[in-house]
Point group: C2
Chain length 324, copies 2
């Protein structure tokens, strides 16, 4: 049995916990938290809740530590720190900073003889794999990534910071016509606005100026200004009834050719729960990290470096017999 630790017990940590519990070859040793452990109730029977600083001396009790912090401030510090003592997995998704994150983690993990798999999940993660397989098989084509329909937590948070907003949920929605054009292999040039629309559901304070809130949302740079955005004001009750889930998904569509012959490759996900699915991917990557380290590997890795067989709890014979 692989002994797993989880650091951080938000939505993602809970998703990892669920995935570890349904993995026949893993057991959850402990959830580590920066909060007071007495106030953290976990779902897994038999696992402990411990302070994060207990990780200073638990290298012998944990085979892989799954880091469930945020990419903005947690992981750039956490991943190199813990890779110096544990095999680790993270979901670092700040694209522009991946090279420096990779370098910092690589140095720490190599120094400790551990494996650190960074940027696991579905994008980056399974979507990245889909892009890499397609580009490798058909060089010279174009990949298009569409996200949604799904909740963007970053955009929802941005709306919540507006004065007079009590709660908000933002859905990213691919433009159907754009998806169809890509699927037909037309290879279109698409602007940001042509690829996705943004739907915002907002609970406003009773006395708030809704016109001002709508304007502030629609004009917010980076988040909304470049998109066709719709704002719908709803009651707190409606928010509770219709918008509590965190569904997401999307597709990577690759359009390539061999001479005059066109080929279209599409990989798509429709997820009822983004954090639970992402947690499942991290858990499969933890299995691979453990095996890679057992075979003598060390350093920073991504899903690009993981032979797919290492992700499965089944043997080579079994996967060849049932999935090949």
């Amino acid at each position: 049995m692989m002994k797993i630790g989880i650091l951080g017990y938000g939505n993602l940590g809970k998703g990892v916990e669920k995935a570890v519990q349904s993995s026949p070859d893993m057991e959850l040793t402990a959830v580590f938290t920066r909060r007071d452990p007495a106030g953290v109730q976990i779902a897994a029977p038999g696992a402990k809740v411990l302070r994060a600083d207990e990780l200073g001396h638990m290298q012998g009790d944990i085979d892989v530590l799954i880091l469930c912090g945020g990419s903005a401030t947690d992981l750039p510090e956490m991943t190199p720190k813990y890779a110096a003592g544990y095999n680790v997995v993270d979901s670092f998704d700040t694209h522009a900073r991946i090279p420096e994150h990779f370098a910092a983690v690589d140095a720490a993990a190599k120094g400790a003889g551990k494996v650190a798999v960074i940027s696991c999940g579905w994008d980056p993660g399974l979507f990245s794999l889909s892009r890499l397989y397609a580009h490798s098989v058909l060089p010279g084509g174009s990949d298009y990534t569409f996200w949604g329909r799904g909740v963007s937590q970053g955009h929802s948070d941005a709306i919540r910071r507006i004065d007079g907003v009590l709660d908000a949920r933002q859905y990213t929605v691919p433009v159907p016509d754009a998806v169809e054009r890509v699927r037909r292999g037309e290879n279109p040039t698409l602007t940001t606005r042509e690829k996705h629309t943004r739907e915002c559901y907002v609970v406003a304070a009773e006395d708030a100026d809704k016109a001002r809130i709508e304007k502030e949302i629609k004009e917010m740079p980076n988040y909304f200004a470049d998109y066709d955005t719709t704002v719908t004001f709803i009651t707190a009750q409606e928010m509770k009834e219709k918008h509590q889930g965190l569904p997401h998904g999307g597709s990577v569509i690759y359009s390539g050719s061999t001479g005059d012959k066109k080929h279209v490759i599409e990989y798509s996900l429709k997820l009822d729960s983004n954090p639970e699915f992402t947690g499942s991917v991290l858990t499969a990557c933890a299995r691979a990290a453990y095996r890679m380290n057992s075979e003598g590997m060390s350093g920073a890795k991504t899903m690009f470096d993981i032979a797919p067989a290492w992700l499965s709890p089944l043997s080579g014979e079994e996967i060849r017999a049932h999935m090949l």
Copy 2:
């Protein structure tokens, strides 16, 4: 530059040749044939056409030999034979015989310190990967594979063997309602008949009994009896105008869950040319075979054993920067 050899110059061999020509890191040394080389005209400038038995002494001239024979009789003999002297790649697709093929190839390749990647292509191949990733991330779900709309060469050949048939083309077509039910995550139990239909286009001899031909097709065991099959008689001219391509494709749809949350993963291909796309996959696998062997690996492998990064001509830094 990786030096590539191709054994067999049918549709698949021609597809591999095209893919090697568009690979910046490869050069085609020679096409090997069991026919008289004088009668074989290849497309790649600079490459030789040689008798297959020249492979007895060309181990120093070829880094990877891509085997483009058929699964029924060629590959079971060819792959172990040539794996004893070369890194090789094949597209062996007789599912039930994969374990024995793997074992025979593994022994030969290990003995020679070479890497032999078997069963490359899209199914088995990319579709197998899609099944493995899905099962690894969400254990306990169900995968469904739909083929088509596309030409099945085996079924076309079976029709051609009927008395009075001059030419035939058979399209395998997924049943749209079945695909939709799987996509919605309904997890249906589907019979063979409920998953695919078969469309046959037949050129009959002038004096042939068309009713008898249609009956023979529709009642042919294994090939057509278990399917809703339509037979359309066309002229040789129509066959030439409308059915000369070898398009294919299909999708793997996986339906899994985390507790009460459903997740659907879909991987699909729409290919203008089945042999050219399959040849492209074999070529990417040849790159991986060469690299794995350069790192000291040997023995039989499948795409399950290939870290995705090994398939790409780009460096780790490049793929992390552009595809992660």
